[in-house]
Amino acid sequence: MSSVLWIPLLTPIVVAALSALTNWPPLRRLAGVIVSVIVLLSGVTLVIAVTQGQVPTSAGGTLRADALSAYMLTVVGAVGLVSNWGGLKERGADDGKNSGQYAALISLFLGAMSLAVLADNLGAMWVAIEATTIATAFLVGHHRTRRSLEAAWKYVILGSVGIAIAFLGIVLFYAASIEAGTPTLSWVELGNNYLALDPTFVKIAGALAVLGFATKAGLAPMHSWLPDAHSQAPAPVSGLMSGVLLSVALYAILRIQSITDAVLGVEFMRTLLSIGGLLSLAIAAALLIRQRDYKRMLAYSSIEHMGVMALGAAVGPAALPAVLLYMLGHGLIKASLFVIAGRILTVEGTSRIADVRSLLTRRPGLAVLWLIGMAALLGFPPFSIFFSTVDIILAGWASGMAVVMAVALVLMLIIFAGLTRLTASMLFGSAGNDPADSIGSDSPSTDSSSHGPRLPLVLAFVVTAVIAFISTPIGTLLAAATAALAGTQ
């Protein structure tokens, strides 16, 4: 079973190599999909293994798949599948010389994320997450326009600086473990109480590490790279980054938290994460009120959702199942929305909200999908984000974070209003009464094609809609994952 651990790590490398070297178009087109499918499958196998009570490990314990890792791997695979499959037609346009590069990088990207969630070693996890930065750097700059270049530059600088800080934190963790007598970077070891770590070390280490990973998780005030990168990257890449990369970084934070909680108690990390979460919500709220670009709108909504998840993490074990479910729900929905946004961009030729009017009458095929996605994103049932949010709020209040949650509710209202207003101005109204399309405004041509595969999006929506009602095995899996984080596994 432990051999399964290697599949999601090696396949990407192989696929990447093949698509970089051999010039075989089908492979280049489908590379992302293939890798995602394999990651997903291995994730599912690991989940099955975990639910049977075993914890596959390999490479001397450096690779380890407990419930949480298995779940995260599945999330990576699922979101990867949605964004790559959904994005197939979107980048049919620029199948040029650098399509091989694209395929290779996206495979490596997925591989790096798989490593990040499978490694039981802060160092390896750090390397993997840094590797995602490297892999996505060129993907963000894929279009080679001024804007994409600018976005890529900001992304790389901010990202690697942040991640460097995280590394400083990890070094301090290592130092602490040396002080305690057993040099190790395995979070399982570090998280165990019998290792008497020096609290002062752990305090600074944890703070720095969280600060660093918060950069990748897009938590304010380290979020600045996010809107630019997400709005400039090709749709599938934006989907992947917004959908899972943020969650993977949050996963890293959760691992760190499990250590600090064991040493310092919950209060320290709770304060840190609450501040980060609320700041993110506030930033998102402030910048969504008068947002002008729908891809940036999605980016800020990602910041908001990461903020809510951070609050959930701050609450602790009581809210962790909700947070994990949130990761999946948000990942799938956000990936689909970015894919749809990409399609709108290709057919409308602009990402300015003001220039996209009455989509629902002109392009029902796209607009309806967009509406469903937004409904899910705004937290309407039956989509799982609704349940996650409600549970986080409930648990948070119960664990004495009343003020934080109250503030969060207010900010959520503002964000909701802002998003609704923007969506309405994009979708509604008759095609006739806007100056944008003067010609043929009397008989607007309605095309109900969705400009790309509809199935992955529908699947994503369906999964998000039903998952919350599946108490077994999902419920048990989430519980097991939480337990794994609490160090009881």
Partner: protein, 218 residues
């Protein structure tokens, strides 16, 4: 070697690190900064070597050679390569030199304050040098925030990274070699990527003033 000498050497190396960092803030010429960076790399390698000899660890010596190769030679070379061709050597800071140096002082003191609880009670002279590493991190960050040219931002980033490496070595005798390798590789790749972007930027924008990157905003 004797404890005193060891302490002396550590102090020298650490001092060199801090000095180079401060000079980097002072000087505005890109090429000068690159040279300083190379010096710093050498100093770092020297520090590691000293520790290796003191603890008689072959591993650390190997690492020191690696550091020398990477931070002392490879990266500066990559940076320095076509700097001559550009000829753009000067860089205007957003902060006037005096203010910059004052903030350097403040940051260094902060570094000491922060690392006191960690190493204040330690006996190992190496650990006493940890604050310098943290100071380097902060100074590197300062460079990043204030410098306008793409390349000098890169230098700031490298300074920051040297700081982290310094802390790593001083406090824990270096993280495991494998990891060190991975980290260095990552670093190299990042620098290369940024370098490529700098090239593209020049082709697109004509110059590499980061202030020009203002198209994406709300």
């Amino acid at each position: 070697m004797s404890e005193i000498l060891y302490a002396q050497l550590i102090a020298v190396g650490a001092g060199a690190l801090l000095l180079t960092s401060v000079l980097m803030v002072w000087r505005h010429s890109v090429l000068a900064s690159i040279r300083l960076l190379a010096t710093q790399g050498v100093a770092l390698a020297f520090l590691v070597a000293v520790m290796g000899i003191h603890e008689a660890e072959a591993e650390l010596l190997a690492v020191s050679i690696l550091v020398l190769a990477l931070k002392g030679v490879a990266l500066p070379w990559v940076l320095a390569r076509n700097s001559a061709t550009i000829g753009s050597t000067g860089d205007s800071s957003r902060l006037n030199p005096t203010a910059a140096l004052m903030s350097v002082v403040l940051l260094t003191t902060l570094a000491y304050v922060v690392s006191w609880p960690l190493v204040g009670t330690a006996t190992d002279p190496a650990e006493h040098a940890v604050p310098i590493g943290i100071a380097m991190v902060l100074i590197g960050f300062l460079l990043l925030v204030t410098r306008r040219r793409a390349r000098s931002q890169l230098i700031g980033f490298l300074l920051l990274d040297n700081g982290i490496a310094a802390v790593a070595f001083l406090i824990s005798g270096g993280v495991s070699v494998l990891l060190e390798l991975g980290v260095s590789l990552d670093l190299l790749v990042v620098v290369v990527i940024l370098h490529v972007f700098t090239g593209r930027m020049r082709s697109k924008f004509g110059q590499t003033d980061v202030d020009q990157l203002r198209e994406l905003h709300d």
